[in-house]
Symmetry: C2
Subunit: 421 residues, 2 copies
């Protein structure tokens, strides 16, 4: 038993509805294989590795592990700690290798976006350089859907389904009460890529349906055009429902609004955005002269387990499972990708891409998915997104009528190394 | 056939997830009775009556009417137009009677909150005074749950279920990523009564669960206590999840924050609130020194058909059905109420209250439902709310993976009267 290698699973960045499904896929595949000693979880991502805060997932109940598929956010714990280049953060990278060695970890599975793939890639190279046998595999995870080399990212299908449904529902609300509340703005996430805002466009099956206007970070935003667009829709439908991505930028690439608070950058150096909807509301009330209100789903859009896409949950699980299976088969330094197979019926297989390639890529919404006027989506976008939002993932409802989520007991391993800060 | 009286159904105020279920109850009961000629809908509530914009619901397809139970917001159309006293708005009231007469309407069913019950009551008296035989029945509707003389209001159970689930889900998000995003504030509706904020408390099954703190308009808000509360929770759990009602007031009864924009009052004279969450976020970042973010569900909380309470949908239908049946049996000037029957298994029957009584009542969250420290709820509140949030209302999913809602064709009646402004 003690001869078997151990595995480590870590989660990184903003939580999603299905990142736990990927963890479940890795863990259950590893247990089934019989080739792994213990599976550890890194408490709050790479921070947990640096701090040697590891817990034994193999000691958790099988039903707890199974319930990962019904639990949103990041049950192992996530963080936004960003490692820099090998030069600048060398101590951190060396500490990671040291912790992995101390606990005989030979497999490192890291679910995250491109920053995390970069970290996994660097850890992998440093391990190889130092002669420590290690397999590093990445699992795609981001609601932003901006990773290259994969058809789409686990997490996106669920946020697409939820945000489109919210647009549809709040759109009916505006339609019902437009005689006073004429405009509703739905602000959605998406720092640089407008995939989430675009997905809300699934709600408009006919021109009168919400959303009437969709603004993406990919299209330079101008107030003049915006006001014209709004006036035109109001003339046609007596109301207007707008979806705006939080990261709208002007032609110079400057964010249209930036939270200037003291906490306006996350630890990855990303600017924290806020206030796009408030700003658009003010512009509409002043320039168009109609009452506007806004809904900001915030983190609720990325953890809406109660309405998750079954396709998304299944694909997230597949990515985790395949990450393990590929690793066992000898692959290393790769991220699992989703490949959309040809054919009339939607179907995805798992593929692989180099961590270093993924780390440096970014996939924005391409021009053919955006209408000519730059204020809505095309049928091609719908054809791309619709299959990802299909099916209702099962949830368990408690006697109080609400969903039941799992929580790990997190039995931490005794530390073998000195503290590290 | 032409001898049979006609009926009018109107919807008022902010939409809810289940106000259409009540309309369905009235309409189907009226059709079944065989005692009603035509059933008309008032396009956008009392405005539709004043403007003589009535459409023939009896001409709509039966499946469209049935699908009301799966459609949020207000399919007949709502508005916020408020009639004042008989003295001040006499012309409006007389116009209403005139329109009802012109279309041989003998039954008027009005779904709304206490302002609407007041309107229905005044129309009823004026009709009686002018010798026009009319039956006016009210149907309770408000997510705010603040109507007196009824155990609870249709619309509340669904918003309770949704908001509690959102708190539970976003709470897991904060728990996953608290090392950077330490605080999340969920702002919910509730101008004067904190029923919605209180319902979010269902999510906290254990002390570590969100929400850790709940602030209701019923408890005078002070920043000093708020900051102390937040620091204490962060010391215990390293994170804090806060639910705040939009209508928080200080000890003098002044709103803690008021949107001072030009559209800051609705047509009922209510102050339009906004910014409680933004304000709390700023206070926390400055005074506690942790990063905070906020989610503002806005209108999405009152139309979340995709996760509606089956109990709520059924009770809303019952209220509509009973409004018709009571009217046919000779009741007049009453609102249907819900009476919680004694016994270990939850069960409600329909009752009646005078429109004039309901118009002047307001039910706030009572002290026994709020904890001693004024920052959370008690078990008694949970016992009250839990049964209302039970069950998943059926929805129909289209080939695109999203819910399918109905929309009336709205074949408008030829106008018989002069225009009215």
């Amino acid at each position: 038993m003690s001869a078997l290698p151990n595995a480590l699973v870590a989660q990184s960045g903003g939580p999603t509805t299905v990142i736990n499904s990927s963890a479940c896929g890795v863990i259950q595949a590893a247990v089934r294989s019989g080739k792994i000693g213990k599976i550890f979880g890194a408490n709050h991502g790479i921070l947990g590795v640096l701090r040697e805060e590891l817990f034994d997932i193999t000691a958790e109940k099988p039903e707890t592990i199974e319930a990962l598929k019904q639990t949103p956010a990041a049950a192992i714990g996530s963080c936004r700690y960003k490692l820099k280049t090998l030069d600048k953060s060398r101590a951190d990278y060396e500490r990671i290798i040291e912790v992995l060695k101390a606990h005989s970890i030979r497999y490192f599975f890291y679910a995250g976006g491109n920053d995390s793939m970069d970290t996994a890639d660097k850890v992998n190279h440093l391990a190889a350089d130092s002669g420590y046998e290690l397999t590093c595999m990445g699992i795609p995870k981001t609601i932003d859907n901006d990773l290259a080399f994969t058809d789409h990212c686990p997490g996106y299908g669920s946020v697409a389904k939820y945000v489109a449904t919210c647009a549809m529902e709040a759109g009916r609300d505006t339609e019902a009460i437009y005689t006073t509340d004429t405009c509703t703005i739905l602000e959605v996430m998406g720092r640089n890529a407008g995939w989430i805002a675009a997905a809300a466009g699934l709600a408009s099956r006919s021109p009168e349906d919400a959303p009437h206007l969709i603004y993406l970070p990919e299209v330079p935003f101008t107030f003049e055009k915006f006001v014209r667009d709004v006036k035109e829709v109001v003339a046609d439908f007596k109301r207007v429902f707008i979806v705006a991505g939080e990261g709208l930028k002007d032609a110079a690439g400057k964010y249209v609004t930036v939270d200037t608070g003291s906490f306006n950058r996350d630890s990855f150096g990303h600017v924290q955005l806020g206030g796009v909807a408030e700003m658009l509301k003010a512009v509409i009330e002043k320039e168009v002269g109609i009452k506007a209100r806004f809904n900001k789903l915030g983190t609720n859009q990325r953890c809406a387990m109660h309405f998750a896409s079954l396709t998304d949950v299944n694909e997230a699980y597949l990515c985790g499972q395949k990450a393990f299976e590929y690793a066992l088969a000898g692959e290393n330094g790769k991220m699992v990708t989703l490949i959309r197979n040809k054919g009339s019926k939607y179907n995805c297989s798992a593929g692989l891409a180099k961590l270093s390639d993924v780390a440096n890529g970014e996939k924005k919404v391409p021009p053919e998915y955006i209408n000519d006027r730059g204020n809505h989506i095309t049928q091609a976008l719908k054809d791309y997104v619709q299959p990802l939002a299909q099916g209702q993932a099962p949830i368990t409802i408690g006697p109080d009528g609400l969903p039941v989520f799992m929580r790990f007991e997190k039995k931490f391993l005794a530390k073998k190394l000195a503290d590290y800060e």
